[in-house]
Amino acid sequence: MIELIAGAVEAVLMILVGLHLAIFLLYFERKGSALIQDRVGANRASFTGLGRRLGMPNLGIINTLIADPIKLFTKEDFVPEGADHFLHALAPFIALFPVLITFVVIPFGDTITLGGRTFGLQATNLNAGALYLLATIGIGVYGVALGGWASNNRWALLGGIRATAQMISYEIAMGLAIIAIIMTYGSLDLQEMVRMQGGVWFGWLPRWGIFVQPLAFILLLTAGIAESKRVPFDLPEGEAELILGYMIEYSGGKQAAFMLTDLAEQALIAMLLVTFFFGGWQVPWLYRDGFHLPGGAVIALGALVVSIAGIVAFLIKVVIVCLFMGLIRWTLPRFRYDQLMKLGWKILVPLGLANILITAFIVVVAGGAH
């Protein structure tokens, strides 16, 4: 019974963490992009004006995190004439739901012992976690497709078709990258994969996945950014051509749901990259009893400190990968549709297959995982 409650609490926590990361990415869209593009960004709104009088720079928090959401949620919610009311209302939630429920299988810590009971730090321990990932990412296509179709607007439909084609093409590349990772670790369970990334090679190099599967990292990064329809793959929301693509006829809370889907999926891809390639919650050289540094020094730490260090390390890694994806966003121009399809089918899929072949060869020759 208490396992159920612990699992429910962890699930809610993970979903909240995902949503908070999405909000952080929203903030990064305004101020981080300003930093990268050498401008100031949002800096006008303030309640009392005290900060400006004291000479502090305005961080734009009230702009992006208070004023924008209030504006979005209080806008009138209209359905265009001739649109299918049921599908129009359903689409944003079909888009958002699969992204949110995927957060629960991602392990964010080893185990934590509170009050004498040991809890695994993963909301649900599915021993087919990687398959669950692929299933939910596949379901996420429908929200976009139905949003474009149900709007009774040809630009929305065009954006919806482009988005669907893009998502199903890059799902294949993502699946191939994940297959290579599954073959390397010999397990479908995400917590197992992270556990196998503990330890060191040659006495100092942490056994992270990126050293074993660099090609799969590049594939998953590209395919993941394409799945979440972020720049440079944001053709569905063309902005110069389609204004907002499949989101044109949405306003208010439903548009907020679509925007949140994009950002939350980017956070999800960042968490997946960290889990598969950057050791998840593993801190380098930190074992269950403390640090075993390469020089030979051993720093003993309590079990609770080790668990919390794992959680903090996971969050830091996810934020760094999110910032890296934001950097990619503000650097590269948008792909054209034919370039996008060519990249997905003619470059990523053969590379993924070659990666699987090489990985299979190495796994058989080396005799087992790693």
């Binding site: 299918d84 049921f86 599908l87 021993n127 087919a128 398959l131 669950y132 692929l134 299933a135 990412i137 596949g138 379901i139 296509v141 429908y142 497709a145 139905l146 179709w149 439909l157 078709i161 669907t164 199903i168 799902e171 479908l188």
Partner: protein
């Protein structure tokens, strides 16, 4: 799987299956079919067929239904308007199907179908045991299935592509030659 969950899933799958056959708008039928498929996938997972259950969600719900959706878009199908007729077909069809369902239930419901169920072995339904069976007993079927998929892909592309200009000219020339004879 607790019985309450089974009753819920059974009710949802029956209602959405009825929604598939009774609704007028093909897109609504498709959505109802997706709900049915995902419910059946959850029933698979409840029967410890974990990998096959997720595969059902991935392959059916994530790929085949998207294909259906694309075709509905391509053909620009709207809701069917007006009475669709065929009352005799619908009436007698319903009676025939009800009779068939009654016969199937008569076969399924009596207690001789009770199988003594002792619980599953440890690795039942995992990807290991599925792969064991696939690559030893069913290896020929596996290889033939890959060939089948290749044929299906080539066939679908060949059937659905538009004829190029030279092919259209060829066809027009062949028809003209036929008429001249």
């Amino acid at each position: 799987m607790p019985m309450a969950l089974f009753w819920f899933l059974a009710a949802v799958s029956l209602i959405s299956a009825l929604g598939v056959v009774l609704q007028r708008n093909p897109v609504h039928c498709l959505l109802a079919l997706i709900v049915t498929l995902l419910t059946i996938a959850v029933l698979f997972i409840g029967e410890d067929a974990i990998v096959v259950g997720f595969l059902q969600a991935i392959v059916y719900g994530g790929a085949i239904m998207v294909l259906f959706l694309f075709v509905i878009w391509l053909l620009n199908l709207g809701a069917e308007v007006g009475p669709t007729g065929h009352l005799a077909l619908k009436f007698f069809g319903t009676i025939a199907v009800a009779a068939m369902a009654a016969e199937l239930m008569g076969f399924v419901l009596p207690p001789h179908l009770q199988v003594k169920f002792a619980g599953h072995a440890a690795g039942y339904g995992s990807i290991d045991s599925l792969a064991q069976k696939l690559f030893s007993e069913y290896l020929v079927a596996f290889e033939v299935t890959s060939l089948l998929l290749l044929i299906a892909v080539v066939g679908a592309v060949a059937l659905a592509r538009r004829a190029s200009a030279s092919e259209l000219a060829e066809r027009a020339a062949a028809i003209a030659a036929q008429r001249a004879r």
